[in-house]
């Protein structure tokens, strides 16, 4: 069965600092990978996705993610975090139905 692991439950980053959220997937073939963000009381908003091609994908709000097959990883990055980025971030995998990780809560300190 597919599984997605997000090893960090909480991460605190200073505003303006860089960010990397980790995600590992289990499915061996070419995965369809996604990062979603959920602000408190809100639904899930897609940040970016990877299906094939360039392994560095750009998303909305200045986020990017890099697919590394050798490490089965799809880590999310942002060079400079803003206070409004504080939210929960979910990595997901799937062709049709999505399998989600448990999420990483990002806290941004002043």
């Amino acid at each position: 069965a597919q599984s997605v692991t997000q090893p960090d439950i909480h991460i605190t980053v200073s505003e303006g600092a860089s960010l990397e959220l980790r995600c590992n997937y289990s499915y061996g073939a070419t995965p369809y990978l996604f990062w979603y963000v959920q602000s408190p009381g809100q639904g899930l908003q897609l940040l970016l996705k990877y299906f094939s091609g360039d392994t560095l994908v750009q998303g909305i709000k200045g986020f990017e993610a890099e697919f590394k097959r050798s490490q089965s990883s799809f880590n999310l990055r942002k060079p400079s975090v803003h206070w409004s980025d504080a939210a929960e971030y979910f990595c997901a995998e799937g062709y049709s139905t999505l399998t989600f990780g448990k999420g990483t809560m990002l806290l941004v300190s002043p």
Partner: protein, 114 residues
């Protein structure tokens, strides 16, 4: 920008009661989904729906759950006899069926079973 809508935003019900959660997917989308998120846990797939029938369902989606697309626009999730453990946020999502494979999620319905 088109969006998925869900009603109500919050539903409180007593154990054993039936609830219907409603979703209006994006109009030209073909695939529809329900997911749930128990407080503090990850988002879990419940069921997918295509061409007026269930295409896939998880172990969670037992006989107390049903889905329907009654009128070509709404997509509903019915829980026949709610249990305390059904308390969760329920998300509807839709997918166009083209090459994007991007599921658009609604804002969710928080179901509280007392």
């Amino acid at each position: 920008e088109p969006e998925v809508t869900q009603t109500p935003s919050h539903q409180v019900t007593q154990m054993g009661q039936e609830v219907i959660l409603r979703c209006v997917p994006i109009s030209n989308h073909l695939y529809f989904y329900w997911y749930r998120q128990i407080l503090g846990q990850k988002v879990e797939f419940l069921v997918s729906f295509y061409n007026n029938e269930i295409s896939e369902k998880s172990e969670i989606f037992d006989d107390q759950f049903s889905v329907e697309r009654p009128d070509g626009s709404n997509f509903t999730l019915k829980i026949r006899s709610t249990k305390l453990e059904d308390s969760a946020m329920y998300f509807c999502a839709s997918l166009s069926g083209g090459v994007s494979y991007e599921q658009y999620f609604g804002p969710g319905t928080r179901l509280t079973v007392t």
